[in-house]
């Protein structure tokens, strides 16, 4: 019981660090030195020390938003095997609960944005409501594929210990499509380039950043922490698929997992450095690609399994 808690705590503590890796990679591509690698901790610390300013337009939902989105991300990590270690909870169908809890987080993030009466935040909210619809279709199709391969409906049956290796053994090459598709979902759900540019300066072109414009102080800190954790959640899934091995030693596994995570975050950074954000009406097509890839993988796997 102590190991799952330890790894869950480690995930919570290191998630801001990994997010800073993206900034470092982007700075490298830009020929800059970039912010310190611990920048996200400084930011969180600074935000948690401050007070807040609330808009006259807001209600209690505005304050619920950060708490619920953070709570959903924290709960999701409780079910996810981190570094191949057993998760704190695992039962039949937990993966549906986790995906829907992340949906609950999204509901309240959007509701908090709509609470401010700001036209820009409404615009961001509309986009935040739109793109993940396609992501959910992709994720559930992936789930069908994983269910076909493993016969189980729980996160630990896909990502615990040697299980990812079993997925590769059963499916083979089509799983490569799934990795790419999940990476696209990662970029969309966490509003990274080419779906959204977290570093842009114009509110009209933002998705996630514009939705949290009015949050300040600890509330904003919770939103930031929640978004690091959510990115960590999706990255873990991709990292476990690209590094499916289990060495049998928690320390070695943890270290190798960290390397795999660095690779995933690094690729996110490289993607952000070499690509521009798509025009908003192009984004759905980009996200739909992920659905097509998983669909393709499912059909190929069906043939394999005959």
């Amino acid at each position: 019981m102590i190991k799952p808690i330890l790894f869950w705590l480690l995930a919570m503590l290191t998630a801001p660090f990994f997010s800073a890796v993206i900034l470092k990679v982007k700075a490298f591509f830009g020929g800059k030195k970039g912010p310190p690698i611990l920048i996200n901790y400084y930011t969180l610390f600074k935000l948690f020390q401050k007070g807040s300013v609330y808009s006259h337009s807001t209600t209690f939902i505005f304050k619920m938003g950060p708490m619920i989105s953070l709570g959903a991300a924290v709960t999701a990590l409780l079910f996810l095997p981190i570094a191949g270690q057993p998760p704190m909870f695992s039962w039949h169908g937990d993966v549906i609960l986790v995906l829907y809890l992340l949906g609950l987080g999204r509901f309240f993030t959007i509701a908090a944005a709509m609470d401010t009466a700001s036209p820009f935040e409404g615009m961001g909210a509309a986009r935040e409501a739109y793109f993940p619809i396609i992501c959910e279709a992709t994720l559930f199709l992936t789930l069908i594929l994983f269910f076909m391969l493993s016969g189980e409906l729980r996160l630990s049956a896909y990502f615990f210990g040697n299980e990812p290796l079993q997925l590769w053994r059963a499916a083979g090459a089509p799983l490569l499509f799934v990795v790419i598709a999940l990476f696209i979902v990662l970029l969309t759900e966490n509003t990274r380039v080419p779906v959204d540019d977290p570093a842009t300066h114009l509110e009209l072109t933002m998705i996630h950043e514009v939705m949290v414009l009015d949050h300040s102080g600890p509330d904003l800190g919770m939103i930031e922490l929640g978004s690091y954790l959510k990115l960590f959640f999706y990255s873990t899934i991709v990292a476990r698929l690209i590094w499916p091995y289990d060495m049998g030693n928690a320390f070695v596994d943890g270290a190798l997992f960290a390397v795999a995570m660095l690779a995933v975050y690094g690729v996110v950074g490289v993607t952000e450095s070499v690509m521009a954000r798509y025009r908003m009406d192009k984004v759905p097509k980009f996200v739909l690609t992920s659905f097509a890839l998983v669909f393709f993988a499912t059909i190929i796997t069906l043939e394999f399994m005959k």
Binding site: F48, G51, S52, V53, Y54, S55, H56, S57, T59, I61, M67, I68, L70, G71, V74, T75, L78, F89, W91, H92, G93, I96, L97, Y100, L101, G103, L104, F107, A111, M114, D115, T116, A117, S118, P119, F120, G122, M123, A125, A126, R127, A129, Y130, I133, I134, E136, A137, F140, L141, L143, I144, F147, L153, G217, P218, D219, M222, D281, P284, K306
Partner: protein, 655 residues
């Protein structure tokens, strides 16, 4: 059974009292609401006691023969009892709600008539689900259709209300004809009116009868493409009537489909596939059309189409599982569908009551005219929020539980190979898409109606009054939370309904359901622990901090107005663009010209392809045909009598 009839007596006497007492407005309302609510409470206790009976619950049977002409037969089994719970629970709260909602003291007769037909509707719904032969069923069904017709036309002064009621009348009677056709086919082969004799008829006839019955019941349930009446009828009817009609009356259509399926006992995958395809179409298109609406009650009506789709997806996957010999998949699918019947009746009536409060206080149904209502309408706003989260199928509320069961059912059938796999894949992916769209829909409604700033004067300075209106909403919101956190008893109730389908799935595999329900409870508990920990940490972080108020950051713009807020139309615009082939979006927007431009406007409208297709596809051919047959109708009484004679002679020869 005595309790059941006693509850009906109370309900009907509530309606009769309203007519008698119509001179005294407030006592009339109080008496009618009290009697109907008390009758419903009694009915709820009866159904609850029935459910609580342990072990193999046998059906309760009662029949009376009227003048040797026909038999009225009633039978209450698990399925009936399950629907009775939903019917009585929602109707009871709607009756309480109506006390403060029906406040037009200058129209006492209209109000009394409304109560009269309301009591008829409630009683006839209970009779529909308790009927045990064709005659009793059709009788109750017609009383239900007609009384709800009179409720829709409550305010006949407005032309659109008359049109809505007419549309509803046509749909419900064409639907009733289809049901009659199904019954006719069944009677023709079984030679008996009793429901119990139906399983003996040949298989090919069963498919025909099922398809007829599905169209008939589907038009009541609001299955795409027979849903056209729904978005017209709901804005016309008073809100507590909409709550009952959308919450439970359309579910009698679902009951009919399930009952016919159980009676026919026909294990063909085709039937399940028909139900499933209809479910997916209604689910996805319902929510897409709902996104395109501007009127809050129309939006909720389309949203009912969506939820009927989810219910049918559960039932369809259950039927496919039963046909494929996969008991786990079948049980989970049926249980998920049935539980969604109860869940939807709870949150949809909650949402309609909330919309009713908004309509009463602001006088506006157009979402883009509202805004910022949460500040002065705490109870309405908060319960509406609970209903919105629940209807989006999000944990830890009740919508998640039923969708979860349907998901698990889909996954249990997702073994590669065979037709069942394709169906399961379709169900899972459509349910995921519907979930995402419903989230977009209800964040839109919450955000535009209850959050932000008031967009027009109508929405300014309103507050909520009427304890009788607030109390039912709180009960319903509490029910959403209770089922979402402790689903085990409700899942077991749904299982009693499933075992009444006579598929031989009673008793076995119950531990799986208990396990699944316990997991949902554990998941909810984990989330609440995390949430309250965060809440505690937040309280600590904000201790001794300066918290101040200011204006919303307008991105540097110094003169923001409420009119700048994002509208419902723009919020849904890009999603609707994606679904343009099935939901054509029409926009009129004269461009701004010149240096000193005139006022301009923007208008958007989403076409419902079923409604659009109805005129050229159905109405015109039918009119054309009847036009050609007009020569038969010449007004000559002698020849009419001749027709009758001819018909009798012909029948003598052929029958």
């Amino acid at each position: 059974m005595e309790l059941f009839f006693l509850s009906l007596l109370l309900i009907f006497s509530g309606g009769a009292l309203a007519l008698i007492l119509q001179r005294f407005f407030t006592p009339m309302k109080a008496a009618a609401a009290l009697f109907i609510a008390a009758g419903c409470l009694l009915g709820l206790i009866h159904a609850g006691l029935w459910m609580a009976r342990s072990g193999e619950a046998a059906a309760t049977v009662y029949s009376i023969e009227y003048l040797n002409a026909f038999t009225l037969a009633f039978r209450i089994d698990g399925l009936s009892a399950f629907f009775l719970i939903a019917i009585h629970f929602v109707s009871m709260l709607a009756a309480v709600y109506s006390f403060h909602y029906m406040d037009h003291a200058e129209k006492p007769l209209a109000t009394a008539v409304n109560y009269f037909f309301f009591s008829l509707l409630v009683g006839s719904m209970a009779l529909v689900v308790a009927a045990d032969n064709m005659i009793t069923f059709m009788l109750a069904w017609e009383i239900m259709s007609l009384s709800s017709f009179f409720l829709v036309i409550h305010n006949p002064d407005a032309a659109e209300n008359r049109r809505a009621a007419y549309l509803y009348f046509v749909f419900s009677h064409v639907g009733a004809l289809f049901i009659l056709a199904a019954f006719g086919v069944m009677y023709g082969h079984a030679g008996s009116f009793a429901f119990a004799d139906m399983s003996a008829i040949p298989d090919s006839v069963k498919i025909l009868a099922f398809i007829f019955a599905f169209i008939g019941f589907g038009s009541k349930a609001g299955v795409f493409p027979f849903h056209v009446w729904l978005p017209h009828a709901h804005p016309a009817a008073p809100s507590h009537i909409s709550a009952v009609m959308s919450g439970v009356m359309i579910k009698t259509g679902i009951y009919g489909i399930l009952r016919i399926y159980a009676l026919l006992d026909c294990q063909r995958p085709l039937l399940g596939e028909i139900v499933l395809i209809a479910g997916i179409l209604s689910g996805v298109l319902g929510v897409v059309y709902a996104l395109g609406q501007h009127d809050i009650k129309r939006m909720l009506a389309y949203c009912s189409v969506e939820n009927i789709g989810i219910i049918l997806m559960g039932i369809g996957i259950g039927m496919i599982g039963a046909a494929a010999g996969k008991p786990m998949m079948a049980m989970l699918g049926f249980a998920g569908g049935l539980l969604h019947v109860l869940n939807h009746s709870i949150f949809k009536s909650l949402l309609f009551m909330g919309a009713g409060m908004v309509l009463r206080k602001t006088g506006r149904r157009t979402m883009d005219a509202l805004g910022g209502l949460m500040k002065n309408m705490k109870v309405t706003g908060t319960t509406f929020l609970v209903g919105s989260v629940a209807i989006s199928g999000l944990p830890p509320l009740n919508g998640f539980v039923s969708e979860f069961l349907i998901y698990i059912s889909g996954f249990s059938g997702a073994a590669p190979g065979g037709r069942a796999f394709v169906s399961c894949l379709a169900v899972i992916v459509s349910l995921a898409v519907i979930g995402g769209l419903a989230l977009a829909l209800f964040t839109k409604v919450m955000g535009v109606v209850f959050q932000g700033e008031p967009r027009t004067e109508a929405a300014q300075g309103v507050n909520e009054t009427g304890a009788a209106m607030r109390f039912p909403m709180m009960i319903l919101a509490g029910a959403c939370l209770a089922i979402g956190l402790f689903p085990v008893g409700f899942v077991m109730m749904a299982m009693k309904g499933v075992s009444a389908l006579g598929l031989g799935y009673d008793g076995s595999g119950m531990d799986v359901f208990i396990q699944l329900s316990a997991n949902i409870t554990r998941g909810g508990a984990v989330f609440f622990i995390v949430f309250f920990t965060i809440l505690a940490m937040r309280t600590v972080l904000y201790r001794d901090k300066t918290v101040s108020m200011g204006g919303t950051w307008g991105c540097g713009f110094t003169r923001p107005t409420p009119r700048m807020q994002y509208t419902a139309s723009s919020y849904a615009g890009s999603i609707l663009e994606f679904f343009r082939p099935v939901a054509p979006l029409h926009e009129t927007h004269p461009p701004i010209r010149g240096r000193f431009p005139d006022r301009t406007h923007y208008h958007s409208h989403v076409d419902d392809i079923a409604e659009k297709g109805m005129t050229p596809g159905v109405v015109r051919p039918v009119l054309f045909l009847f036009d050609k047959l007009r020569w038969i109708q010449h007004g000559d009484i002698h020849l009419y009598i001749g027709y009758i004679l001819l018909a009798i002679v012909a029948l003598l020869f052929f029958v």
